[in-house]
Symmetry: C2
Subunit: 193 residues, 2 copies
């Protein structure tokens, strides 16, 4: 997605060898017009797949997911993150390891909001090691629902996330795919759309 | 806002004397079409006020804030919640007490994303005791920016939030105003628009 790649080049900040900060338009400040474009792109990529609901993760997944939901006319559910859950009645839960932060979070979604006849589109802001996406997939699996695919705003292709997800038969669409960082600059791989 | 009141009556759940759960369309599952309507309503209410940025709080404020930002053509920043912040360099921070949960959270926003010549519209999902809104106001005050006003999706009029904010000279617009709960039913006060 050209508009997104341009924004990454203009406003993204490369930190060290493998971190891209996009606080200026996705993870802290949000560019709503760009997000509307992201929503349109995901809706086009997953149309005709019978999507009934979108599942994402708080907080940075919410803006792209809601714009996609608006475009597709389906509700959006966001999984909640928690250090440790004490009450899990009525929830589907999964553990998500963060390699960057060296933490394990639990994520949870109410059983009321994923039903077994749902066809779920998973949306997330970043794909690196794929742990968050696998956690979201686990929530859908626990509900016995189907997964239409996974839409990722920014993928780091040099980390193993995509391979793990494709191995499990997931249809994956990333709007910007980063091949590497070179002297603080972002080098893109061809995007999926 | 009629469409919002109807949704509250259809899908909200009254718990005890003073809690309304709107997990079905705002706080966990999100209705994107309703949120687009919320965004249009706030944009109309605060037009011609020179708004340059919207400030909200993760996670439930993000959807209504982003839809408002899309309509007004301005960026959205979401404050982050944290149990306790150890690193506050580069952040404006404030304490927010939750009377319901008996906790104190810190909220924070990067100094990069509120500037002193900004005119900020604060958006939040709920107004009860007004503590979150006052915390957001404090972040804006620390930056030396102006506040255009506060947009609230659902206000509980029987709690002191509005009085506290109006006392400080804030323009307030609530899209649904709850007067009371009566035998598990929601009774509305006239909304601001």
């Amino acid at each position: 997605m050209k508009q997104l790649e341009t924004k990454i080049l203009e406003s993204g900040k490369v930190i060290g060898d493998d971190i891209l900060k996009v606080d200026a338009f996705l993870n802290h400040q949000i560019d709503p017009v760009l997000m509307a474009g992201v929503g349109k792109a995901f809706a086009a990529a997953f149309k005709d797949m019978g999507v009934t609901r979108i599942l994402t993760l708080e907080s940075s997944g919410i803006a792209p997911a809601v714009m996609t939901g608006l475009e597709m006319g389906v509700p959006v559910v966001f999984g909640r993150k928690s250090k440790s859950l004490t009450l899990t009645d009525g929830l589907y839960t999964a553990e998500v390891r963060s390699y960057t932060k060296q933490t394990v979070n639990e994520i949870a979604v109410s059983k009321n909001f994923i039903e077994k006849d749902d066809v779920i589109l998973i949306i997330d802001d970043f794909l690196a090691n794929g742990q968050a996406a696998l956690g979201l997939k686990s929530l859908v699996d626990q509900a016995g629902a189907q997964i239409a695919g996974i839409g990722i705003v920014i993928e780091k292709t040099f980390q193993p996330g995509r391979a793990l997800l494709v191995e499990q038969g997931m249809k994956m669409v990333s709007l910007a795919r980063i091949e590497k960082f070179e002297e603080g600059r972002v080098i893109f791989a061809p995007a999926d759309i």
